[in-house]
């Protein structure tokens, strides 16, 4: 079934540890995004990539890094996790970049991360 997969589904992590959240899409979409969802704050963009080989910073990029080595994968890394990074993380993709004619985003099921 075409779509976006995220792994892990949930994770409990000790503060200071490194963690990579995985995201893979099989729709050959050019653009991909990482968001965090926190109660009362909606979704906030962490990083995005309009095409393989390029990345950009969103609203809340500090403490996170991404890479886009190919079209399908867009991993999000927390180099040294802190409790404020406890959140639900959503990966999304769109056929074209934000602002273009095909920018409707398709979302993965999310990863629930708890940093203790």
């Amino acid at each position: 079934i075409a779509g976006i997969t995220q792994a892990p589904t949930s994770q409990i992590l000790a503060a200071g540890r490194r963690m990579t959240l995985r995201c893979t899409q099989d729709m050959r979409h050019n653009a991909m995004y990482w968001y965090r969802q926190d109660l009362g704050l909606g979704l906030r963009l962490i990083h995005y990539s309009n095409t393989a080989g390029t990345t950009g910073k969103g609203e809340v990029p500090d403490g996170y890094s991404v890479s886009r080595a190919n079209t399908d994968d867009f991993p999000l890394t927390l180099a040294s996790a802190v409790p404020s990074q406890t959140s639900v993380y959503f990966c999304a993709s769109s056929e074209g970049p934000a602002g273009g004619p095909k920018d409707e985003q398709f979302f993965g099921p999310g990863t629930r991360l708890t940093v203790l």
Partner: protein, 114 residues
Amino acid sequence: AQSVAQPEDQVNVAEGNPLTVKCTYSVSGNPYLFWYVQYPNRGLQFLLKYITGDNLVKGSYGFEAEFNKSQTSFHLKKPSALVSDSALYFCAVRVYSSASKIIFGSGTRLSIRP
């Protein structure tokens, strides 16, 4: 500052009644607006978007949204609510700084009672 606001955290409607979920925006340039829905333990799903043209935009699941430039609003509507419409609804707007990005509102929880 460019932004999108959803003034209601929760909206409660009886099944069969019309529903409205409110959204207001502030952007530079022409507005480019979206509505997404999130069911429990799921990612967001695209409902509809406004780029230009007719002020009434029709989307999935019988939803529509009305663009009002003078009031800078983009309210989501449905003539007759279903219990299955109960979910979290997000308004979103394209903003442009160094690049085009989509920012989301804080969400409105819609509860439809039988």
